[in-house]
Amino acid sequence: MTDLLELLVEPLRYPFMVRGLLASIMVGTLCAVVGSYVVLRGMAFFGDALAHAILPGIAIAYLLEINLFWGALAMALLTAVGIGYLSRRGQVKEDTAIGVVFAASFALGVAILSTVQSFSVDLTHILFGNVLGVSNTDLWLTAALGAIALLFVILLYKELLVISFDPILAATLRLPLTALQYLLLVLIALTVVVSLQTVGLALMVAMLVTPAATAYLLTRRLWHMMIVGAIIGAVSSVAGLYLSYYVNVASGAAVVLVCTAFFAVAFLFAPGRGAVWTWLRGRRASST
């Protein structure tokens, strides 16, 4: 027992590890809550695209020597609104609009970065995250922006639920449907930016989708799904970080793999809905 405690406490001697853990818990929680809408509205591709599309924002911020955070945030908001606008026009389908914008934006980012020799190391961090490199400033930014996003999700819970479940009802109730839909895109953008340093943009979609999808298999109400998802996201983030400390694997990848393990267990064994129970029921039915 004391050995286990020792294993858990030992990494906490390092301030960078404490900062990393705090950042991971915040990101895991936020991603699962906002990710619930990503899962329910089928926006996984949008989330993935948004994460990739912020690369030029980061590149420009790097060249201007300002905090990469702000470059990423500006680019994320621009992309979210741009995709929203293109798909609302109705001339191209939404996933086509996303494909065009995201690839173009990512290419622009790579093009800018390819002109900068010294960037190769940081690029890896941006792609795959560097949670152990989180600074105090980053931690505060994460906390502040994450809190803002969560606040919106909580205060507009019933409105966002209706526009996701039954947009026609939302329109007949005179809710500002378009504004709320854009708000949701902006919340996803905010979440992506906040999570950038922890998981990196290549693995972002996993944090948005996997804990929420796991919770979806275990719950029947949206707010239950958000809470269970937040717990799974936070626990996975912490477990992944310890894993990366002791086994010495990349932290972002470790977090995502732990999330995926949770998902696999829920997929197979979720009460009443798990694949194993369905299979057993099928066998029992056919044998009698």
Partner: protein, 255 residues
């Protein structure tokens, strides 16, 4: 009795294509109106115009003091959504609650009462996907009631619903009529429209006929709404036509 809903010369065109052309009719409070017509006849457009979701090209809708409640078509919703029956009905309360407000005990009481009215109270904690099609439709009726709507618009409520469930919905509509609720239903089922509704609107972009069902449905009006060929191909249209043609007003029942 005063008309609760008046539609005056309503015309809706999308990019120049007419979806509704000069449609006028009145609905009295407490009446049950069936809107029947072929696909693309403008039934959904009419509902959207009544709800204010599309702006009429010309004409207007007058519904003094009435609140519209929309009963969403079942196929328009993802039933695997993590929402319980209670949650779904509570959605009707949203604008009554107002921004940044949570549900109060009075809201929960209203939801309970509306679920009771449609006989779904015992299912309140079920996830909506666990219900049958007819039960899902009843939950959406309860939602419109929770909204305190006085005019219910139901888009194809009988599509994909078995006969007992259809009967259960009609019984609920009877009860609502006793409370003075007005109901407009779009349906493909001409037989049902003739036998169970107070008024029948035969729509094919224009309002072909409107009135008491057995007066509105004539071989001529059906031919005008559906076109001669479609009329004879569709089994139940032919049945109704036969009914009126050969048996007069007796109202034979078909199984």
């Amino acid at each position: 009795m005063a008309a609760i809903l008046q539609v005056h010369n309503l015309t809706v065109r999308y990019n120049g294509d007419s979806a509704l052309e000069d449609v006028s009719f009145d609905v009295q409070a407490g009446e049950r109106v069936a809107i029947v017509g072929p696909n693309g006849a403008g039934k959904s457009t009419l509902f959207n115009a009544l709800l204010g979701l599309v702006h009429p090209t010309s004409g207007k809708v007058e519904a003094s003091g009435a609140e519209f409640g929309y009963v969403t078509q079942r196929s328009a919703v993802d039933w695997s959504f993590p929402v319980t029956v209670h949650d779904a009905v509570m959605m009707g309360r949203i604008t009554r609650m107002g921004w940044l407000r949570w549900q109060r005990a009075s809201d929960r009481e209203i939801v309970r009462r509306c679920l009771e009215q449609v006989g779904m109270l015992e299912y309140a904690t079920r996830q909506i996907g666990e219900l049958s099609g007819g039960q899902q439709q009843r939950v959406f009726i309860a939602r419109a009631l929770a909204q305190e709507a006085t005019i219910l618009l139901m888009d194809e409520p009988f599509a994909g619903v078995d006969t007992p469930s259809q009967e259960a919905i009609l019984v609920i509509l009877d009860r609502l009529r006793d409370q003075g609720a007005t109901v407009l239903v779009s349906t493909h089922d001409l037989n049902l429209a003739v036998e169970r509704f107070d008024r029948l609107a035969l729509l094919n972009r224009q309002l072909v006929a409107y009135g008491r069902p057995r007066e509105a449905v004539t071989p001529q009006s059906l031919a005008a709404a559906y076109g001669g060929s479609a009329l004879w191909r569709g089994e139940d249209y032919a049945m109704v036509l036969g009914d009126i043609d050969c048996c007069g007003e007796e109202g034979h029942h078909h199984d």
